[in-house]
Amino acid sequence: MSPDEKDDKPAEETAEDAAPAIGPVADLFKTALPGVSLEAAQGALDVLITIDGKDAHQVLETAKNDEALAFDFLRNLSGVDYEDAGLEVVYHLYSYTHGHNVTVKAKLPSQDPRIQTVSDLWRAADWHEREARDMFGIVFEGHPNLVPILLPEDMLDHFPLRKDVPLAPLEEWQGEQLGENMANAGHIPPGSGFDVTPSAEGE
């Protein structure tokens, strides 16, 4: 099994021998949405369509209702924080009728990220959007019930998955103690042959 792209049906263009060919879904999008500016690229498994956050609802509505696209299954809706490049809301879609899939990435600014909800298109988006708001602070306009889902009900202004909210660094204090004095570790008596300082692993 090699990680070949599933949608890579047309022959690779010799002009760009480094970038793989983009699957046919991108063309379907371009024909269905002539007025919307979108960039298409080929990811490891899916076609990636990057749009602006303002066009998100229009693009996704077309993706669901257009007959050639017919994306009736919203697999995943997540937020990503690209720090200086802003936030992104990433939609992964699949079509049961055609069997193709696509990833739609909607770009948003870091300050006051607002995007229109898609919970009127797919009811699955309801809980996913609540989680994205919990973690990133993205406000989904028109959402019926945008209250915290995974975080406590009163945690409305702290967004854990943003990059400017770091995790506390992991402290290796147990390793230090073990290194200094193995005999006090409790289970390993001195002179047993196991009382050695662990060497720093390269991993």
Partner: protein, 375 residues
């Protein structure tokens, strides 16, 4: 309040009943508030997040090999399936190709894990309905066999961390084939025992047939996957529709239900045990000797910059790993698309209109793992 007309219409008040978060029937720390009118459920408000431990954020601070452990702890009943999804996502970005033997080992262990997870469901579902103990002990006897086998292979009963990007951590014991065959035979007998105990039992049928119906259109709309979706009649299994790993080399069927009620969800999982045994036996026959890791494995993985959404068929549905890498040693963003999260969002739709006792049945039939819902 008492406004009794001659047509015997009583003016009643709806009662809020809080089930959970500490409750023997909610399969973990899950809270649902039922608004009931007499015995009938009028509204249901689920509250999740009690088990949220920040697996996604923690994974961003680990390197790619350390983050495998979080997959186990997120999906603690189908660990190998979760690990497989994650390591395949990393392999896609890093351009690693696992050798054949490792692929076969992965598939065998993942399918055995599917069997053990379905046995857990059968035991817990019987207990929810009141067959206290009998279904549980029958099911767990088989599950213990599988867990013993996993302990022989990985050293751990529940949290394996055995798969690696590129293959598996170490080779399987010498008597692996005989042990797996023994486990498979017992699993089939155990599934037959449970079939005889529950499937034709009139009380069981009365409690589950027609309860919690989810039709195909709603299932797709809510993002339900796995046995919940297949019981509603949609023919979709990721091992067939978007084959990953080496699943295209095996011949197995996809059990599909007709009504989308709790009885069908139970039947689909019971049938999937049999199909998983088929896959395991074919894999055992085809498994070659050879290395279990590629020859040139980097000491510290730095996958190329990019993103991938890898999806696998978990016992509960579609488990997805959305991995964004910027070329560093740690994932930039690791989003876990949890199957139970989406299946559970359909709970209100399935329960409104049924009785209080049915709410527990329906919740049991969705088969949730709270750690996966909350991550």
């Amino acid at each position: 309040m008492a406004d009794m007309t001659t047509e015997h219409e009583l003016d009643t008040i709806d009662v809020n009943v809080n089930i959970g978060p500490q409750h023997p029937a909610t399969h973990g720390v899950f809270r649902m508030v039922l608004v009931i009118d007499g015995e009938e459920v009028v509204d249901l408000v689920p509250h999740i997040g009690y088990m949220h431990r920040g697996a996604e954020k923690l994974s961003e601070n680990m390197d790619y090999r350390q983050a495998i452990g979080y997959q186990d702890r997120t999906e603690y009943l189908a660990q190998f399936n979760a690990e497989m999804c994650y390591v395949q996502a990393v392999e896609k970005l890093a351009g690693l190709v696992p050798p054949d033997r490792a692929q076969y080992i992965r598939v065998i262990l993942a399918e055995l894990n599917r069997i053990s997870s379905h046995f857990m469901f059968l035991g817990a579902f019987g207990t929810d309905l009141g067959v206290f103990g009998t279904a549980f002990t029958y099911a767990f006897r088989e599950r213990e066999n599988v867990l013993d086998l996993f302990e022989e292979v990985t050293g751990d009963r529940l949290m394996y961390a055995y798969f690696r990007p590129g293959g598996v951590a170490w080779d399987v014991p010498r008597d692996f084939k005989e042990r797996v065959e023994w486990v498979c035979e017992n699993a089939l007998v155990g599934a037959m025992d449970l079939d005889k105990l529950l499937t034709d039992n009139e009380i069981f049928i009365m409690r589950t047939r027609g309860i919690g119906i989810l039709n195909a259109q709603d299932a797709i709309d809510y993002g339900a996957t796995g046995p919940v979706l297949r019981a509603s009649g949609v023919q979709h299994d990721l091992r067939r529709a978007e084959p990953y790993s080496i699943y295209d080399r095996f011949d197995f069927e996809i059990p599909i239900g007709t009504n989308g009620d709790s009885y069908d969800r139970y039947l689909v999982r019971l049938a999937e045990i049999r199909e998983s045994v088929k896959i395991v036996r074919q894999a055992l026959a085809q498994m070659p000797e050879g290395p279990i890791l590629p020859e040139r494995m980097p000491r510290l993985l730095r996958p190329a910059a990019g993103e991938v959404y890898m999806r696998c068929e978990n016992p509960r549905g579609e488990y997805g790993i959305y991995l964004v890498s910027t070329g560093g040693t740690q994932p930039y963003r690791l989003r876990i698309r949890s199957s139970c999260f989406c299946n559970l969002s359909a709970l209100k739709h399935m329960t409104v209109g049924h009785y209080v006792a049915d709410a527990v049945t329906i919740l049991g039939s969705i088969d949730i793992v709270l750690c996966e819902v909350d991550r």
